[in-house]
Amino acid sequence: MKLTLSAGIGILLTAMFVLSAIFAPLIAPYPLDLTVGGVWDAPSAKNWLGTDTIGRDILSRLIYGGQITIFVALASSVIAFSLGSFFGFLAAVRGGWTDQILSRIVDLMMAIPSPIVALVLLSVLPLNLPVLILVIGVLDSTRVFRLARAVSMDIAVMDYVEAAKLRGEGQIWVIFREILPNALSPLVAEFGLRFIFAVLFISTLSFLGLGVQPPLADWGGMVKENKDGLIYGKSAALMPAAAIAALAISVNLVADWVLSRTTSLKGGRGA
């Protein structure tokens, strides 16, 4: 696989974000909630990116916030993938009624824009991390379902699947041992796109005040905390905003590259 320049930049930046999230307590110059300066201090040698609305170090909060943002996004994309691909494969292998029911449920879920569904759900559910992860994961699994179903429809009619069925393997065995390995590469390429979607989703929810709740910090919430400063020309809110943008773009670059690699080998990637 030839590495393109944009893919290289993407991988480098993504790795940087992930590493700084993992080693947050080691890298961050200050603790998450320590007031170290005045309100919205400009960047200085002491606080590289300045301070926030109550004088906390923005760089430290960005590093800790990245931990939460990346963790929530990763966990919900894993849920979206497990749910979506399992039911997608099941629909393709079983066909008939199972397929009809599952597909119609997904159609119904996709008939309402997912941010609206999320808002309706979050007006009843308690706001904590497991609930957020589950809501985003389930809403996002619909797209994975469609992709997994489309990909495995082609695989389910292959001779080796037929052979497995004839020698008496169960459906679960067929799904995990025959379909999954062959459907993996388009799904892996899609993972990057779903991860970005989850990052944007959790950031937007937190920005609306309906995502990660204080004292935890994530990037969307940090934009919300510091947005009023923009009116006075304080650019503090732009730092977490830039972090979201940089993460989204760099993962996009990697996903694009993986996608162009796999599509050239495997044909279309489906909707």
Partner: protein, 318 residues
């Protein structure tokens, strides 16, 4: 019956059915979740007796299905119930705000649709060369940005670096159209940025797809200029996919509006929804959610109908 009419009626009927199913999901789905409306109003310290009285008063002791049909009956007759937090009539509140939301969305659509088509045509004309690469690069970046991030970059740029606009959009009854347009300029710019990229990329893809046809080669061989080929031969045949993309993005606009309204404290439907999600005011959330879903499904039906009508094979059956 004319086959087009039949198809259109089928699509509309299917859409209505879908909307009905969505209303059931919004009402019954939420009922099925853990959480108690009476508890939400009175708080954790409420006595069992007070809770019981409130449930009686609100009819919460009836089975969920009965309440669903009552609610649905109310929705169909324009009665959306009362807000839990301040007791105001929800239908009136939505009526006041829907206009503001539509004003914002329509202003954004009027700018973004022609712009997206023109940029898409230009990118398709110069496919693979620098104008295409420039446009594609910029749009790929804006696709990666969530609405509120794009919004704050625009705010910082246009109110601080180049102070042209005010960072808050206030629209109130009695404002002249000019004043209103000036007030919504910033949110409209943000919304245009957000939907333009998708629309433009799809336009480009649709035209490039048509460009591979044999009749395009004929048109090129008979000596038409590239722009004439695109405009006269490729564009009419790409209308169906383009229209459906445009309408789907307008549907997306309706959702993007929610976040943008909150960013600019613009008093409209999205702001109303988010406020009441925070207050856990379920009747308001359900009603506004249904309005958004209805607009979204309605636009999807329009997209389907237009692509049916734009197909000459269906328009002139043999």
């Amino acid at each position: 019956m004319h086959p087009i009419l039949k198809l259109v009626i089928q699509r509309v009927a299917l859409g209505c059915l879908l909307l009905l199913a969505v209303s059931a999901v919004i009402f019954l789905g939420v009922e099925a979740l853990p959480g108690d409306t009476a508890q939400a109003i009175l708080g954790q310290s409420a006595t069992p007796q007070a809770l019981e009285n409130l449930r009686q008063q609100m009819g919460l002791n009836e089975p969920a299905l009965v309440r669903y049909f009552k609610w649905l009956g109310g929705v169909l007759t324009g009665d959306l119930g009362k807000s839990l937090t301040n007791g105001t009539d929800i239908a009136t509140a939505i009526g006041q705000r829907l206009g503001n939301t539509l004003f914002l969305a329509v202003s954004a659509a009027v700018i973004s649709v022609p712009l997206a088509l023109i940029l898409g045509l230009v990118a398709a004309r110069y496919a693979g060369r620098w104008p295409d690469k420039l446009i594609s690069g910029i749009t790929l970046t804006t696709i990666s940005l969530p609405e509120f991030v794009a919004a704050y970059f625009v705010i910082y740029l246009l109110t601080q670096v180049f102070p042209v606009f005010l960072p808050v959009s206030m629209v109130f009854p009695g404002m002249s159209l000019g004043a209103k347009l000036h007030a919504v300029a910033l949110p409209v710019i943000v919304l245009v940025m957000v939907v333009l990229a998708h629309m433009m990329r799809m336009t480009r893809a649709a035209i490039l797809n048509v460009m591979q046809s044999a009749y395009i080669e004929t048109a090129e061989l008979k000596g038409l200029t590239p722009m004439q080929v695109i405009w006269k031969h490729a564009f009419p045949n790409a209308i169906a996919p383009i229209v459906s993309v445009v309408v789907l993005n307008l549907a997306y606009l309706v959702v993007g509006v929610v976040v943008v309204e909150v960013v600019f404290s613009y008093n409209a439907l999205g702001q109303y929804l988010v406020d009441h999600v925070t207050k856990r005011d379920l009747p308001v959330v359900q009603a506004v959610g249904l309005v958004f879903a209805a607009v979204y499904i309605g636009l999807n039906i329009i997209a389907d109908v237009v692509s049916i009508v734009a197909n000459p094979r269906l328009r002139h059956p043999k």
